[in-house]
Symmetry: C2
Subunit: 576 residues, 2 copies
């Protein structure tokens, strides 16, 4: 049985609680959303004692299943006011699983202003005061933590943004090299951690072990076959390891939905400067790494090590969404500047998508010119410094729109839209509008069918069929997020039924369960229902399941499309 | 028939439209809320072309009925996201009525960046470009407008805050002396006017005339009797003319619900420095005016002319809520400093209640110490200058709470709570929680029964009976706000049924209608239903009809009360 730890910041205690009664298989988003939905008052202030931060590896975490290192983190979101599940790669989930920890719930508010570290080892867990970490970025923080707790730790930390409790604050997770490059980025979860006075969770897996499987032999066989499927799949075996997620830049730009200059255009004239191809060439020419796994045991290895002209490390990747957000969306066609912004975001602890969208809103508000890379970098530095301007920017696009009187603010439920314009990929538009998470591509990635023609094709420019598509993808994503598998591993499912069969085989062999495909779909629905129920109790209605009106009115070049999926249809996404 | 003007900023046209089909008597809040509710898309961005700014005198406006000069202004609120009706004294409503204008609807967005003035005379209406007004405060603006359009104009203007489209921006209305001291303060209506590029509405009533009454003799008789009732009533005939609205400071402080230092305490140790008694003495000692009418024909004259030590004009009043907001709530016990802040608010065009609450939240967030009057003044100057900090502050308490990671933010539906702590006056707490307007005392002033023992008494410290009380007061307030009468005139109703009889007699004599007390109550309900329907379509639910959780948890000294009206009861306020 996995351990269920309750960290009470009011009492400054760490206690093991009984494992939730929920039936196995559970973990990841199933567990975090279930706990948030049942234990957090939906109308509470997100920074109050009533909010809880829940962290859980997926049920395959630590088992050695390929790409199973996602850590799910949940809470009531300071950005959206609704439920939030944000998951991330990095090595923390694996380390937690090796210590037998299935979930951590951080609750209450501390009685003082001290900053604390939760230190987890095979011997137990304790809260340690470390005010020396105050005001440090994630890079300095993890350096200090390694000095204190040893080189082999995994860290879950917040930067300055989280300490300031800003709406765009992330929770960082260290990668294979111990760098804080992986982030539970969306929804301001770093602010919740900051409100609880928790700067870091340090996991020393020394003395831990791989979780025992009910049938190890069957598990290993299924895991081996699943790894093979990932290698054989074109996306996970070739495109992603070669070009990373930013392989999409040219694809999405060619398709005319690469949001440019605060969602005014669908194509960016400087896309070649920032494409996955250019990124790979640049990295290789400078001696970086074009293929890099974000956590131990990931066979896809879609990340990279981005270096400067002297071959010095700058940042990981960066990812497609980050490059878009700070690039095309801000009119910036300079990969080095974007990499610097990614590094700043990672260090300060800021969501790269929210920051790119926010800077573009500030540009629309007249604060900077579109294309001003140095100005954009300065804005991020202002966040680090906690200046008033930095606090506006670090609060995200919606607050920045308020402060600068901007009308065109691309947010749903207060969260910024990612890197696909919904007017020319209407399936993802339905996901943005209706997801329990606020605008979020990973919540139901209809791009696969709208643009990449995987599994099936749904014309991205027409309103028909998009609701069915988004519903199907949202259900699938919710189930996937419970396993601990990276959602990119889901690409293998487009090659045939065997990938899901192997996921279920790994699951059953590991946990001794006997779940099937029907259960899998029902699981996705169950998770969405719980999240949606929380949001309804928090005050969300159909009026919140809409895109900002400018997407329904301003035609997007080059296709001249508007988002025209009827409101009445949007309201049927959760009819299942 | 009154004129119904549509000002289309997209076409830059002013056209007379047919008077709305709604049955008479209509005007004021009945008309503005009805037009907003039927014509504005509830989910639109408040700064978009879809929002409309609606201005309407009450149906008694311009008739010579005592204290009938309120101008009702409505729109979708940039602060709350819901419907907003904010009404103000000053001379504009009377001037509009004398030109026969019953309503103005400003719609669309301008095609350019020019700033415009709507100039209304007996000869017609036109839009005039005047970019020389850009960036001016309300005082300079009205000075310039008088230079250009003559001394006898009334002005409706926005200051810098409205031009910047900030959430706390007001619409100013000139008083008897032509000063921009009266404000449609709440809900950020100045930002809507700013988004439409409209700096001012100038009304030259020369050549206009008092609206014709169906039965002038009967009207005059009723108006005369109503004026007498106002003179005979203790509050309107004595307390208000003597001490102004700030007579309440000691009353509310003695009762233990004078919110102090961001709603941490219910009594302020420096209340004597800022009480109505001290205010009167100070004004009289310096040669100011302790009794002053805010508009022509007001027999109550609850305002004042506040002067400095040299006898120079500083500001009007200030009002009770303003003195509380910048005083006790910020821990500031200095009347001169508060008067300077009131002047700054009026000039920049900022809601004094929202500003006081916001500065206190900033103080709670560590930006200033409580009691730092010069620091508070500096914050308002930052708003005028449009600095990033000023833009945070000018966006109101909710945004300021976000930017500074503050948990205790006293807002409902995004609008700051006024000058009565809901924990020890639970009737007003019900109004704050449930009003269609966001937290608003004028929307249902239960203080009269909770504290002042007028009409009847409902124990302010107990949860029982508060919902019935608030419902009754909200219905009465809505009807009153349609007449154009100042709600303070409503005090005469506590002396017996004759005051309402005279209001109805004036109404029927003026309009040739035959409405009665039953109709009056139904009118209040109709207005609330329309507003509530708009809000429901905008996405508001029961979850929005709640006070921030800290009011339900932190006991308020000296009574040790929390707000404990059951949520289920709050949800019955609109069951009528």
């Amino acid at each position: 049985m996995r351990k269920f730890l309750r960290v009470n910041m009011g009492e400054l205690s760490v206690k093991e609680d009984v494992w939730p009664a929920e039936q196995e298989p559970t973990g990841g988003r199933r567990l975090t959303s279930s706990i948030v939905s049942s234990e957090v008052c939906p109308t509470c202030h997100p920074l109050s004692a009533h909010n809880k931060l829940v962290l859980a590896p997926g049920w395959l975490g630590g088992t050695g299943a390929p790409s199973s290192g996602r850590l799910s983190i949940g809470a009531k979101s300071p950005l959206t006011g609704g439920i939030k599940e944000s998951n991330s790669g990095g090595n923390a989930a694996n380390a937690l699983s090796r210590l037998g920890v299935g979930a951590i719930v951080v609750e209450g508010l501390p009685p003082d202003e001290d900053l604390r570290v939760l230190h987890l080892t095979a011997d137990g867990a304790e809260l340690v005061v470390d005010n020396g970490l105050k005001g440090l970025g994630n890079y300095d923080t993890t350096d200090r933590l390694r000095e204190k707790f040893g080189e082999n730790i995994s860290c879950i930390t917040i930067g300055q943004a989280g300490e300031m409790r800003l709406g765009a604050a992330t929770i960082a997770i260290t990668d294979e090299e111990g760098r804080p490059t992986r982030h539970a980025g969306r929804g301001g979860l770093g602010a919740v951690m900051g409100s609880k006075g928790l700067k870091a969770i340090v996991i020393d897996k020394e003395g831990g072990q791989r979780p025992e499987s009910a049938d190890r032999e069957a598990f290993n066989k299924a895991a081996k076959r699943f790894a093979q499927l990932l290698r054989e799949n074109d996306t996970t075996g070739d495109v992603l390891p070669t070009y990373g997620t930013n392989n999409l830049a040219k694809v999405i730009n060619d398709a005319g939905l690469y949001p440019t200059r605060n969602f005014r255009e669908g194509q960016f004239e400087l896309v070649d400067n920032i494409s996955g191809e250019t990124q790979r060439e640049t990295i290789l020419a400078r001696g970086g790494e074009a293929k890099h796994a974000c956590h131990h045991g990931c066979t896809i290895a879609c990340s990279a090590i981005y270096v400067d002209e002297d071959g010095e490390f700058v940042t990981k990747g960066p990812e497609y969404e980050t490059i878009w957000a700070h690039g095309a969306n801000c009119g910036i066609g300079d990969l080095d500047a974007i990499a610097r912004m990614d590094r700043l975001d990672d260090d300060i602890g800021l969501d790269t998508i929210e920051m790119g969208a926010t800077i573009a809103v500030a540009m629309e508000g007249g604060l900077l010119e579109f294309g001003d890379a140095e100005g954009a970098i300065r804005l991020l530095q202002e966040v680090r410094d906690g200046t008033p301007l930095g606090r506006i920017i670090g609060s995200g696009a919606a607050v920045t729109g308020r402060a600068f009187g901007v009308r065109r603010v691309p947010v749903v439920k207060g969260q910024a839209l990612p890197a696909y314009d919904p007017r020319s990929a209407k399936g993802i538009g339905v996901t943005y509008a209706t997801s329990t998470m606020g605008a979020d591509h990973t919540a139901g990635y209809a791009i696969d069918q709208n643009i990449l023609n995987l599994g099936r094709y749904v014309d991205p420019l027409q309103p028909g069929g998009q609701v069915d598509l988004s519903r199907e993808r949202q259900i699938a994503a919710a189930a996937f997020d419970a396993t601990g598998l990276c959602n990119l591993a889901g690409y293998a499912m487009y090659d045939g039924p065997e990938a899901l069969e192997m996921i279920l085989a790994m699951t059953n062999a590991h946990l001794g369960t006997s779940v099937d495909e029907h259960w899998w779909t029902e699981l996705g629905k169950e998770i969405l229902r719980k999240e949606r129920d929380f949001n309804a109790r928090a005050g969300f209605t159909a009026a919140d399941d809409r895109l900002p009106d400018f997407f329904e009115e301003e035609p997007l070049p080059p296709h001249g499309t508007v988002f025209d999926v009827p409101h009445g249809e949007l309201d049927t996404v959760f009819d299942f």
